[in-house]
Amino acid sequence: MSNLYRSLLARRVTPAEEAAAAAHAAHYRADRWTQYAIRPLLIALLVGALLSGLLLVVEIASGDGSWQALLPLLFLVALEAIYTTLWLQHPDRMILDKPVYRLAELVFILVVLRVVSWLMAGADLPTLADLALYLRNPGAFFSYGRFLPIAFLALLTWGLSVLLSSIFAQLALSEFEIRYYTQPPVRRAAWADNQPIRISRGNLVGRFLVIWVYGGVLLLFFTALSTLALDQLSMRFNLLALARLGLPPQMLVALLVYFLAGLWLLSQARLAVMNAHWLLNGVVKNASVERSWQRNSLLLLLLVALAASLLPIGSTLAISRILNLLIYYSMLLINLIATLFALLVFAVFSRLAREGAQEAPERSEPFDPAAFLEGMEQNEAAGGSETLTFIFSSAVWTLLIVAVVAAVIYFLRERGLIGGDNRQIKQNWRAFVAWLKQLWAALRWRVRDARLTWQERLRIAPAEEATAESPTARPRFIRLNALSPREQVRYFYLAAVRRAGERGVPRRQSETPLEYVEDLKANWPEAEQEVEQLTDAFLKARYSPQPIEKEDVNPVKETWRQVKGYLRRRTQPPADGAPAEEDAAPGN
């Protein structure tokens, strides 16, 4: 197929088809929350839980309780590795996804860790003597403040995180796949050369499962180690006699987090596989699928976890006891065989030993690293030249510093954090500021909206309160046209009530409108008909569910004007005009 023909084919796509393809593609792009929040967090939790088990074992073995403090640091390392992997998946940055860049990233992490471990060790600024020591002996710089074990743990965390996040990054649909497979068939035929290479996502899920299962077994191993009492272990090593000593809470949390996060990630992996299957088969994906998947998988996990917590635990089960017995006798048999074999071997070796009896070697002194280093330094001082040592160590430091600085600059520059025009940072900052402004505007709008709503609701209330406190007080800032027809009718009646109150015929609190209308008629007999009409209109507006149209308001307004005219004719309030006790609230 010639290129010209292909380009002609590609042009035959109508705008409607273009729009459909764009909508189709939008549903296949992973939800940003899932891609940038849920999934990275789950991977980091998984790795963190595994490392937590290791740290706990180290803590128990060393008797030093500060190892668990490294967990947040390792969690951050995991997050950094995951987000860098995600960042490198962008089509514009795929060119950077090379071992050199990942090495530079690792060097950067090690530099940060060196600083952090220094701070964790509580060290002051290095003195001249310290610097001289580090210059002569670079190894001392790295061995100070647990840097090496921390670096090892960080390396482990980083590697595992990169591995898992790479699997999930490959499982997710790439932009190329989405763009290609959402095109109409005509255009796809024209773009046949650009067809993305198919990935075996089933194998990737299998890889994840293997890593998760082996990690789980490792965590179980750490769990087992964390339950051992070392003093018992030193006395008699019997696997079956290792009684449960209770799990440390950290280990319990680590186990729970590891397996729940793993199962949820398994569900995510399955979703990615299904997404690829649907995309390649031209299935239009509904927006509800992703949400439904996340919601249902989480719900199922939580329900199962809840149900499992209600089930009887291991040793209380009869079957567990039976199995324990079986295992006990099996182990006894293996033990017996092993003992017999050991006896046999011992017999053979003792016979050989007797034949070639030799002197027992002297008991060696316990190894002391400090004395060993001191001895090494003394040997160097005695045997080698001070100048040569200085030159050698200076060269090492120079190379190291150059390599580290180059790696850090490379890593940070490509991330857009230093150098260049920092466009990405500026862009991100502007986006952040714009988001803040938008948030602030939305908040202001909501507050204003709420204020207006409350004003609307309480519009009658100020008139009521004012009337109650001072009969002459008038409600202010009421725009009649802004009120609904129903509220306008109520306003006319209440205004008339207020005026009548001012003229010495107040409405008592216990008085209903129909009782009050009798008072009004008694005082203004000439306005009998108008007052009745106004009261009827008020009652309808207040209690009737029937809608009140704008056309209904004008006659009421006319009536109100007439009533107002009648009320004006009595200018003096009665002498015994008590403060109005009216209750002109809409509630009556």
Binding site: A20, V205, G206, L209, V210, W212, V213, G216, V217, L220, T223, A224, T227, L240, L242, A243, R244, L247, L252, L255, L256, F259, L260, L263, L266, S267, A269, R270, L271, V273, M274, W278, N281, G282, V283, V284, K285, N286, S288, V289, R291, S292, W293, N296, S297, L300, L301, V304, A305, A307, A308, S309, L311, I313, G314, S315, S320, L323, N324, I327
Partner: protein, 432 residues
């Protein structure tokens, strides 16, 4: 899943050997998720109700909206449900209906797609293939099916105003242009005797019973019965363009039938084409072309030996009037296929034996050759009123017209749309 089984075994081993109670909890969670996936997935489709709603008949050029309804009757959600509606390519209008949705408990969703009736035929819509699965990949996909429904696309109907066909019936003809007679074969009721009534019309039994003279009343005979005799024998048409010409013959037949029914006249249809729904192999269910989606004629077991046999020719639709009857005629015309059955000249006479005397026969065939004219002449002699409508272009059709006039019937050449113009003019301009 071997890895997962390995994990469970490792967990159990650690739990049993080291008696770490919490590991049992992890085992329960893992097994619980596995069991829930295996348990719920097969039930995913059980409480699901699927349905398809659409108008089963469409005229050519119409767009038909087909609505698919999916109702999850269970309380449990269906996390994902993939459905694929099979739509015949000839009807496709817009995107295919192949989607995936998530359904909440008791949720009902509906999806509408359009099909374009671009070609007459009998099409299959569906089946709707459904599949669902679990969220973790522990259970196999479950598949379901909503059976197919059928859409009939009628042939194109060209509106006609007046045919001006002659009638030979002495007791009935079209509308008000002729006298009204009563048909003694169609008794309708009785009424009181009036002076001048024929004694032969007196109902003596009823008169004796009522002790008063009453006479029979009859339905008025105003109908002109017409039968469309459609020739779809493939060899009668030009081999070069037989598809187009036979389609045009069907369009002509449908237009004439629709016009006559609209004039409240009884119309029947007799054809020597093949209706795949009624022909050989119909009992095994309809067979559809995978490319076009149209109904196919199932191949006869003895293949070529059956070619030319009249056994696959559908039974005639005898003249009736009314919209329902028109639909019946149009449905037959929608499904009918051209086949090598029997040449028109041999078939025409025997095909009309069920018709009443005096029926007008609109013979739609390819040419007005000698054999065709002789066959129509035989029909004329048998008491029918044949009219030849030739659909193949014939520049010497005047010869045919003269020959037909000599044999006592009329002939028309309707090879293209403009040939129908005389029948499409406003009524005033056409002589009755």
């Amino acid at each position: 899943m071997i890895q997962f089984a390995g994990l469970i075994i490792a967990l159990l081993a650690v739990a049993f050997l080291l008696r770490i109670d919490f590991v049992y909890y992890i085992v329960y969670v893992c097994l619980g998720v596995y069991a829930a996936s295996r348990f719920l997935t097969p039930r995913g489709l059980r409480g699901l109700l699927a349905g398809r709603e659409f108008a089963p008949n469409a005229f050519l050029g119409e767009t038909v909206a087909v609505t698919l309804r999916l109702h999850n009757q269970k309380r449990l959600p269906t996390p994902w449900l993939e459905f694929n509606e099979s739509i015949p390519p000839e009807l496709r209008h817009g995107q295919a209906m192949h989607q995936v949705v998530g359904l909440k408990g008791r949720e009902q969703v509906s999806f509408t797609y359009q099909v374009q009736a671009a070609q007459r035929g009998y099409y299959r819509l569906g089946p709707l293939r459904l599949s669902t699965g679990d969220l973790f990949g522990f259970a196999a996909r479950q598949r379901g099916l909503l059976a197919a429904d059928y859409l009939t696309v009628y042939p194109r109907i060209i509106p006609l105003t007046q045919l001006g066909l002659p009638s030979r019936l002495p007791f009935g003809t079209i509308a008000s242009t002729q006298r009204l007679f009563e048909d003694p074969a169609r008794p309708m009721g009785v009424r009181d005797y009036r002076s001048g009534d024929s004694l032969r019309q007196i109902n003596w039994k009823v008169s004796a019973h009522t002790r008063d003279l009453v006479v029979k009343t009859f339905q008025p005979a105003i109908s002109l019965e017409t039968a469309v005799l459609l020739n779809l024998h493939r060899d009668d048409y030009e081999a070069r363009d037989w598809r187009t010409t036979t389609e045009w013959a069907i369009v002509t037949a449908a237009s004439l039938a629709a016009h006559l029914i609209n004039q409240r006249q009884p119309v029947g249809l007799i054809t020597n084409g093949v209706d795949p729904l009624l022909g050989a192999g119909a009992a095994e269910g309809p067979d559809f072309d995978e490319v076009s989606g149209r109904l196919l004629r199932r191949a006869a077991p003895d293949g070529a030996a059956r070619a030319g046999a009249l056994t696959d020719v559908p039974p005639p639709i005898l003249p009736r009037n009314g919209r329902a009857h028109l639909m019946k005629v149009l449905e037959r015309l929608a499904r009918i296929e051209v086949e090598r059955t029997a040449p028109f000249a041999q078939w025409a006479t025997s095909a009309c034996i069920h018709l009443s005397w005096g029926v007008t026969i609109l013979a739609i065939t390819a040419f007005g050759d000698e054999a065709t004219c002789q066959a129509l002449h035989r029909l004329l002699r048998a008491g029918f009123n044949p009219i030849l409508i030739a659909v193949e272009p014939d520049y010497n059709f005047n010869l045919v017209r003269e020959r037909a006039r000599g044999l006592g019937f009329r002939a028309y050449n309707v090879a293209r749309l403009r040939d129908l113009d005389p029948w499409r003019r406003p009524r005033r301009q056409v002589p009755v």
